[in-house]
Amino acid sequence: MGSIGNMGNMGMENLTNIVVSEGELGNITRVLGRLTLDTGATHVLLLDKSGQLIATQGPAGQRDIIALGALLAGAFASSRHVAEILGERDFRSILQQGVNESIYTSLVGEQWLLVIVFDKQTHIGLVKVLARKATEELERVLERVRVGGRQAKEQVVNVQFRSSVENTIDLLFQD
């Protein structure tokens, strides 16, 4: 589960969640927006390593972004095990090249994945350089999210919320 999960005995409950506040999502969206503009990417995504989508830039509804996130996170996790078998210290990025579009995925602070989908008009060198710059900014956001998450979570997940979710689960998933 990455560095948060590995932090051991510091109160497991809260450390197993990532909580993104409104302000930080604004920061993330700004970074992704600028990256989209500067690279001319068709889509830029920020994923959690577990495959969940945190933020996206690009035309809505054009692609199944949720499935894309799950697949890319799976491919990335798999590539890290390939690195291990090869004795490489780590693969911190992967490039998937297509005829019309390519995808560059890179790791942000051991927890998130930055995904850039771009077409043949954009040079991969540019994508790599700008991804690195964006990663530095996103790592700072991630650091703040880790520190500030607990308080933000308590505003959302309370007894009433849990009980409402449980009722919804019972209602939807009946035999």
Binding site: M1, G2, I4, G5, N6, M7, G8, M12, E13, T16, N17, I18, V19, V20, S21, E22, G23, E24, L25, G26, D48, K49, S50, G51, Q52, L53, I54, A55, D64, I66, A67, A70, L71, A73, G74, A77, S78, R80, H81, I85, G149, A152, K153, Q155, V156, V157, Q160, F161, R162, S164, V165, E166, T168, I169, D170, L172, F173, Q174, D175
Partner: protein, 191 residues
């Protein structure tokens, strides 16, 4: 690792169906996909070999809709069951919030189930988790098969942590939704 997006009012949780090859993990997801209300799920994504065995994972996004102003989503995954794919299973477990351990009740599978559980424990430790206080339920699947191992025996050999268990025949849907409801609630409790 649950993701709580306060800004976009979304909560995402990841549930993995784990177990030996042919124990019925994919069948669980197929049943959920075909019987849950249409608006509550997306497409079932399967990465399988030509012989229709899971190669990487199956993926089914569930959407509970808006609860107290928050959109709640559970993403269901299966792992490939064959021994060969141990590394792939570890990759799929990344960031998991809850696990359904699907057990094949046929007598000749008991040892294989046991080995798979040990592997799961090892993999979870590698990811920094202890199964003891982790959301985990057992599904005793294939109860409809003649000569199925008695539930008490499965419980004794596989469930030393005294987690909740469900009898199931995923092929007909028996026990599929009770299992799903419980693991979803367990994940929410720990959120």
């Amino acid at each position: 690792m649950a993701l709580i997006n306060v800004a976009s009012h979304e909560i995402h949780c990841k549930i993995v169906y784990y177990g030996t090859g042919f124990c019925g993990k994919t069948t669980n997801l197929q049943y959920i996909h075909s019987h849950a209300p249409r608006q509550s799920h997306g497409e079932l994504l399967t990465i399988a070999t030509e012989s229709e065995r899971t190669l990487f994972f199956d993926f089914l996004p569930l959407d509970l809709g808006t609860v107290n102003d928050f959109r709640v989503r559970f993403h269901l995954y299966t792992v490939p069951g064959q021994i060969l794919y141990e590394r792939t299973r570890l990759a799929v477990l990344n960031g998991v919030d809850g696990i359904v351990f699907v057990v094949d009740s046929q007598p000749e599978k008991l040892e294989e189930n046991f080995q798979s559980l040990i592997e799961l424990e090892t993999n979870m430790r590698r990811l920094g988790n202890d199964l003891g206080d982790f959301p985990l339920v057992f599904q005793w699947n294939k109860r409809d098969v003649a000569g199925a191992v008695p539930v008490a025996t499965l419980d004794r050999y596989l469930n030393r942590r005294r987690k909740q268990t469900f009898e199931a025949a995923a092929i007909t849907g028996d026990g599929v939704f009770p299992t799903l409801r419980t693991i979803c609630k367990n994940v929410m409790t720990r959120l």
